[in-house]
């Protein structure tokens, strides 16, 4: 059984309201924008910091392709959504009971559901959609 303790590193591309929402549910998370040591670092340096600190990177529209991130990556997709909806999608993933599976893997949280890859693939579709105003 995987532990639910995921230490997160929120990429600089994550907008402030979304980051605040994530920080409310994950107290151990670190937001690059407000961290003086991490602010302004590029993808490679950030991945190195995440590996050293065993943190999963949470990014928007960037999956750090070609860069080794040992603790894993959660990629959110901004396509046709707003910040409020993105936060609801993240919270739905977080409370789905499957987040432990995301450790050391790549997770794609989208409007359709979430998909955990890089090993045995796990797909979860939103039923119902977490965002009330979604079509």
């Amino acid at each position: 059984m995987s532990s639910l303790q995921l230490r997160l590193l929120l990429d600089e591309s994550i907008p402030n309201p979304l980051a605040r929402g994530i920080l409310r549910v994950s107290r151990s998370a670190v937001y690059v924008r407000t961290h003086p040591k991490l602010k302004g670092k590029d993808d490679h340096d950030l991945a190195k910091e995440a590996n050293d600190d065993r943190r999963m990177i949470v990014a928007l529209d960037n999956d750090y392709k070609g860069i080794s991130v040992t603790a894993g990556i959660i990629k959110m997709n901004a396509d046709r959504t707003d910040e409020g909806c993105l936060l609801k999608l993240f919270l739905a993933f977080w409370r789905s009971g499957h987040r432990g599976k995301a450790k050391r893997r790549r997770t794609y949280v989208t409007n359709a559901g979430f998909r955990i890859t890089n090993g045995e693939e796990f797909v979860h579709r939103w039923q119902p959609h977490p965002c009330a105003h979604h079509d």
Partner: protein, 141 residues
């Protein structure tokens, strides 16, 4: 009386067998699909690659930079890992530059304006190559 159907660059006369007509039709369909695929390819005037378009736009926008080590080489606000497309997304969501600053409070209005201008320059210098094809022509002699 001679009846000839022209499909793209392939023509079939009535005297041809059914097999060769089907073959010509298939080839014509392939040709049309090939042209359609070509139409979908984004081109710039004089076949300038998109990276060159970015370079030119970056020169006009001092707040924007392209670094392969940041955001997989996408144009970003200089000194940050905030890509231009997410700044546009923030403007779209909030409907104003001030609104976008709520999403990214470290940015200043000039940087948001530069992101908008950058997008304007890139979009203004790309076009879709148009190719016209005659699909069916009937000739009667």
């Amino acid at each position: 009386m001679f009846n000839c159907r022209k499909v793209g660059r392939f023509s079939v006369s009535d005297s041809d067998s059914l097999h060769s007509r089907n073959l010509a039709d298939r080839r014509a369909r392939m040709f049309i699909e090939m042209v359609a695929a070509k139409q979908r390819v984004r081109k710039t005037p004089g076949n300038i690659p998109i990276s060159e378009v970015y370079k030119r736009a970056v020169r006009a926008c001092p707040s924007i930079s392209v670094n392969p080590r940041r955001q997989q080489g996408r144009p970003c606000i200089s000194g940050t890992s905030i890509p231009v497309h997410l700044v546009l997304w923030a403007v779209e969501q909030h409907g104003s530059i001030d609104g976008a600053l709520k999403s990214y409070p470290d940015l200043v209005p000039e940087q948001v304006k530069d992101a908008l201008y950058f997008a304007e320059l890139v979009m203004g210098s790309t076009e879709t190559e148009s190719v016209s094809v005659v699909t069916t022509t009937t000739l009667t002699a």
